[in-house]
Amino acid sequence: MSMNAGGDCPSIPALLARNARKYPTLAAYREKEFGIWQSWTWAEAEVQIRAMAMGFLALGMARGDHVAVIGRNRPALYWSMMAAQMCGAVPVPLYQEATGDEMAYVLDHCGARFVVCGDQEQVDKVIEVQDAIKHIEQVVYLDKRGMRKYDHSHMNALEDVVAEGRAGHHRFEAELEARINELTYDSTCVMLYTSGTTGKPKGVVLSNRNIIATSRASSEFDHLRAGDEVLAYLPMAWVGDFIFSIGQATWTGFCVNCPESPETMMTDLREIGPTYFFAPPRIFETMLTNVMIRMEDASRLKKRLFDHYMALARRIGPAILDGKPVSALDRLRYGLGNRLIYGPLKNTLGLTRVRVAYTAGEAIGPEIFDFYRSLGINLKQLYGQTEASVFITQQPDGQVRSDTVGVPSPGVELRIADSGEVYYRSPGTFVKYFNNPESTASTKDAEGWVATGDAGFIEEDTGHLRIIDRAKDVGKMADGRLFAPKYIENKLKFYPNILEAVVFGAAREMCTAFINIDLTAVGNWAERSNISYSSYQELSQHPQVIETIKSHVEAVNRSVAEDPMLSGCQVHRFLVLHKELDADDGELTRTRKVRRNTIAEKFAELIEALYGGVASIYTETEVTYEDGRKGAIKATLTITDAAVVPGKQRMAAE
C-alpha cells in the first residue's frame, strides 16, 4: 500500500466528485419512502450535497466546526455529513437512542455549533439541553413533521438549507471549491464517540487517511465494487456504518440503501437483496429463530424435505463454499437442495445475492454461523474497533471458522503482549481522542501501537487471531495458567439448554461453574419426555437435566482442551443454580451481563461447596420479586463432577 492511499482523492468530497464523473448514472443512494424506493445517482447526489454545503456556508459553518448529526439512517443525513466535510467542518454522528443527558455530554464535549436532527424527537432532545450548552448556534432538521410551531430564529429545515444553497450558488461556489481543495489526507474526516461502556464516551478523531486507506484495503480484500448493494440500518454513530456507508461506498461507488423505518428492515432487506451485508450475531440469530418457528408450522412433507436437505447442507455446504473437494454425487444432491430448499430460503431471508457477509461485535454460536454458511452464504467474522477505523482482523474467503476472527487485515500489524492483550498498528489507527491527551497517550504508544483491551492469541498453524476475553477479566489460576471465564461461559451458553453460566477459578487450582438452565428449552424437553415438575427449582435439580448439562460441560471441556493455552480452564465441578440470575437481584446488569463479584459474594457458600468436595449443599437465597417484595428460596443443590481432558503440555504443572 502506498502512502497515497486514495489515488488523487484525499477526502470523501473528492471521492464523491470522482464518482459523479466516473459513475454518473449509477445509483448511489436509495431510500424507501411512501412505499417506493426513491433513488439518487452519484451525479444527482453530488449536486444535492454541494447545494447543502453551500446552504451550510450561508448559515456560517466555519472550518473545524463540529457538526453533530442525530437520526436514523437516511440519505440526507449521510449527505449532511459529507456537506459538513466540504465546508471543512467535522461531522460527529450521535446515537439516536441516546437520552438527553447522554447527548448533552457529547454535544458539550465536542463543542458542536451545528446540530442536524432527523426529526422532531431529536430536535426536542437538543432543545432540552440547549440551555446548558451555549455553543449550539443552529439546529437543522430533516423531517418537517410537527415542526411548524417551533421558534425558527436559529432553526431551519434541511430542505430550506439546500434551497438556499442552490439559490445562492453564485456567492458560495468559489468559497466551497476552495474549502474542498484545502482537505488533505490528514484533515479530520469524522469524529466518533465510543459507546462509553467503560467510563465517559471518548471522541475518536479519524483522519481522511484512516478512513480512505481502511476503506480501500477492506474493499480490495473482499473485491467490493461499484454495483454492489448494502443496506444501511445500523446506528450512524457506529464506526462500522461510517466505513460501510460512507468510506467503502465512496471508495468503490456502491449503492447505500436506507430502510423505510427501523421496523421494516427485514422486508426492505428482501426487496434490496444486498450483495454485501453486515449484521451483529443477534440479527442472524433472530432470522434463524424465525425460520425455525415457521418450519415448525409447515406441513410434514415440507418439514421432512427441510430437515433432510439441511442435514445435507450442514455436511457439505461449508466445504462447497470453501472450494474444497466434494464428490460429484454430493454436488448433485446439493444442487437439488438448492433448487428445493436453500434457494427459496435465502430468498425469504433476503440473502440470495450476498457475496460477502460479516458479523462481529460478540461471539456467534457455531450452529448459527454454520447454518448460514451451509446455505452457501459467505458469512465471515471480523474483529475491529472504533480506534482502528474498524478493521483489525478479518477472515479471507476459504478460511472461515466460527471460533477465530481471521488474519490481520491488509496493512495491519498485530502483537500479543505478555499479558495476553492484543495490540495493533495500522493505517487506520486513530489520530487521537478529542481533548483527552492522557487517554490518547495511555491507549496509543509513541510507535503507534494501540491496546485493544482484549486478550487473545494467534494460532500457530493458521495465523488466525482468537479473542479470549476482555483483558481485564482474564486472570491467572493458582499455578499461573491462563484463566478466561467469559470464553468458557460463551462456549457453554451456545447450548440452548444453558441460559447463563458463571465460571470461577481465578487464583484457584481448578475451574468450577454455576449453570442456569434455559427454562424454555429445558421445559420444552421435559414436556416432550413426559417429565413432570412443579417449579423451576425442581426442574433444575432433576437428575436427567443435570446429566444433560454434564454432557454439555464435558463437551466444552474437550473443545477447551484442544487449546494448550486454555486447557487449564476446563470445568471440573459444577452445580445447576436453583434460581435464574436476575437483574432485579443485582446478579446481572440491565444489559444482561454477569456481575461476577456480586455473584461470588452472594453465593460464597456455594462456591466453597464446589471447591470443598461435597456432593450436595442446602442453601437459602433471598430473591426480589418484580413488585419489589422479597422472599426466600430453599433448595438442596447437587454438585456434579465433570470429566476433564488432561492438558497436552501442561501435565507437569498439575
Partner: protein, 273 residues
C-alpha cells in the same frame, strides 16, 4: 357564509381557529317514543378539536350519527358550510368532506391494510368499474395517484410495517389506527371519531392522541370526537360539549367544563375534596 362567518379564536397553544364549519340548531332525535336527543345546539369551528362527552346512554353516538347524516333528526337543523343541509345518503355525506371512524371497528378483515385504506378513496375515483377491472388506460394513472396519497397517510401514521398485512391479523390498537388512516384517505374537512381510544392501553392512547393532534396540525382537519377517557378529552380538545340523558348540560373549554357544577354532578361525580 354570511351571518355565521364570525372571527373565531386563538387557542392556548397558539392555533388559529376559524369560523363556524358546522352548526347544530335545536336538534331533537326520537326513536319511537324514546327521545335520544332533546333540543341540542352547538357549533363546530374550522380547525378545532371538538369533543362530545357524557355518561353511557347520554346520546353521544346518536349525536355523531346526526352530524354524519346517518340519522335525520325530527326537529332542528344542521348547517354545514353556511348552508342548511337536507337529508342525504351516506355517500353524499362522504363527498361533502365528512369522514368517520367507528366505535366497533368496521374494516374488511380479509383485505390488506393498504387495500382497506384505498377504499377510503373510492368516492374520489372517476374511472368506471370496467376499466378498473382491466387496469387499463386512465384507471392505471388514477390508481397510482391515489396510491401516492395513501402512502403519505401510511407514512404519517407510521404503519409501513403492516402495509401488506391482512387487517384480521392485526392487534386492536393497530386496527384503530388503520381505521383512522382510511378516514384520512378521504381527505375530510371534518373528521368524526367515535371513541378512538376505547379499549386501548396507556401507550396506545398516547400514540393515538399524538396522531389526532398531528392530523389537526398538519392537515388542518376539523375533528369532532366522542370519548370516555376524561384525561384524554381534556388534554386534546379545544372545546367540549357535555351531554346527559340526551340534553346538553355544558359547553366550553375543558377548564370551563371542569368547573361547571352540573357537569361535575352528572358525569364526573361529586368532588370529594
Amino acid at each position: 357564509m354570511n351571518d355565521m362567518a364570525q372571527d373565531g379564536y386563538t387557542t392556548a397553544d397558539g392555533r388559529k381557529i376559524g369560523g363556524v364549519l358546522m352548526e347544530m340548531r335545536n336538534i331533537t332525535l326520537r326513536f319511537g317514543g324514546v327521545k335520544a336527543i332533546t333540543d341540542i345546539s352547538f357549533d363546530i369551528r374550522e380547525g378545532e378539536i371538538r369533543a362530545i362527552i357524557g355518561p353511557n346512554g347520554a346520546g353521544k353516538s346518536s349525536m355523531l350519527n346526526v352530524i354524519s347524516g346517518f340519522y335525520v333528526p325530527q326537529e332542528g337543523e344542521v348547517w354545514f358550510h353556511g348552508q342548511r343541509r337536507a337529508p342525504m345518503k351516506p355517500y353524499e355525506v362522504a363527498r361533502q368532506g365528512i369522514a368517520r371512524t367507528f366505535q366497533n371497528i368496521a374494516l374488511f378483515d380479509g383485505m390488506s391494510v393498504l387495500d382497506n385504506i384505498m377504499t377510503g378513496r373510492l368516492t374520489m375515483m372517476k374511472t368506471g368499474l370496467f376499466s378498473q377491472a382491466l387496469w387499463w388506460g386512465r384507471a392505471q394513472a388514477e390508481e397510482t395517484a391515489h396510491r401516492e396519497k395513501v402512502e403519505r397517510i401510511i407514512d404519517f401514521l407510521e404503519i409501513q410495517t403492516i402495509r401488506k398485512t391482512p387487517v384480521g391479523r392485526l392487534p386492536y390498537g393497530l386496527k384503530k389506527r388503520v381505521e383512522l388512516a382510511r378516514a384520512l384517505a378521504a381527505e375530510p374537512k371534518l373528521l368524526l371519531l367515535d371513541e378512538p381510544m376505547a379499549g386501548m392501553n396507556v401507550e396506545e392512547k398516547e400514540d393515538m392522541s399524538r396522531f389526532i393532534l398531528d392530523v389537526n396540525d398538519e392537515f388542518g382537519t376539523t375533528i369532532a370526537l366522542i370519548e370516555h377517557d376524561m384525561g384524554v378529552v381534556m388534554d386534546l380538545s379545544d372545546r367540549v360539549v357535555v351531554m346527559d340523558y340526551g340534553k346538553k348540560i355544558g359547553d366550553g373549554t375543558p377548564d370551563q367544563v371542569r368547573a361547571n357544577q352540573a357537569v361535575i354532578d352528572a358525569y364526573l361525580g361529586v368532588a370529594h375534596d
